[in-house]
C-alpha cells in the first residue's frame, strides 16, 4: 500500500463548478499537509499548506484535513479555466529527517 493515495483522474468540470480533490494517507505520524499545483510542462508550485485538522481557506481554495480518517481534501470554488492543472498532495512527518511524500497527482480540466 502506498503511503499516499490520490485519484489520478482526469477530472473535467464546467467553469464555475465546485471541485473536490482528495488524498488518503496511511501513516498517522504525518503532520504537515500541502497541496501543489503543476501546470503543463512546468514545475509544481505550493498552493496551500496546513498542519492541523480542520479547514484552511485562501480565496477560492479551501484545504481540509481529517486526521482521524487520514483524509485530506482541496476544494476549489467558482472554478476557472486557469485552474486547469495537475494538483498534487504532499505530506510530511515532523520527526527527524523525513522528506515530503507526494501523491501521484490529479489532472483537472475546467471547461469554459
Amino acid at each position: 500500500q502506498k503511503e499516499v493515495e490520490q485519484d489520478p483522474g482526469p477530472l473535467s468540470v464546467p467553469e464555475g463548478a465546485i471541485v473536490s480533490l482528495n488524498c488518503t494517507y496511511s501513516n498517522s505520524a504525518f503532520q504537515y499537509f500541502m497541496w501543489y499545483r503543476q501546470y503543463s510542462r512546468k514545475g509544481p508550485e505550493l498552493l496551500m499548506y496546513t498542519y492541523s485538522s480542520g479547514n484552511k481557506e485562501d480565496g477560492r481554495f479551501t484545504a481540509q484535513v481529517d486526521k482521524s480518517s487520514k483524509y485530506i481534501s482541496l476544494f476549489i470554488r467558482d472554478s476557472q479555466p486557469s485552474d486547469s492543472a495537475t494538483y498534487l498532495c504532499a505530506i510530511i512527518s515532523n520527526f527527524g529527517n523525513e522528506k515530503l511524500t507526494f501523491g501521484t497527482g490529479t489532472r483537472l480540466t475546467i471547461i469554459p
Partner: protein, 115 residues
Amino acid sequence: TAGITQAPTSQILAAGRSMTLRCTQDMRHNAMYWYRQDLGLGLRLIHYSNTAGTTGKGEVPDGYSVSRANTDDFPLTLASAVPSQTSVYFCASSDYVTGGADTQYFGPGTRLTVL
C-alpha cells in the same frame, strides 16, 4: 528573482552515455532535492542535500549521483544512462529545519529521453 534554474530544458541521450543535469538556486536555501516524475508514479525523490557538503539517498537513487560543493548548486549525474531513466527531472530547494515542515520550491524541470 530567478528562484531555481535547471539546464538543459530537454535532452535526448544515447544509452550508455553519461550526463549531468544542472540545478542552481538563488534563494540561499540550505536544502536541495532531485525528483523524477513519471506518469502514474508521481514525484519520486532521487537524492537530497540538507546542507552544503552533505547528501543523502532518496527513494530511487540507483544509477544517479549528486554533489553539493556549495549552497547554490546541486548537479545530478547519470553515469551510464539507461532507457528506464527517461523521465522529467525536477530540482527543488527548501529552507529545511530539522523537525519542521519542508516547503519546497521547484525548478522548471528537465525532460530527458534515453534511447
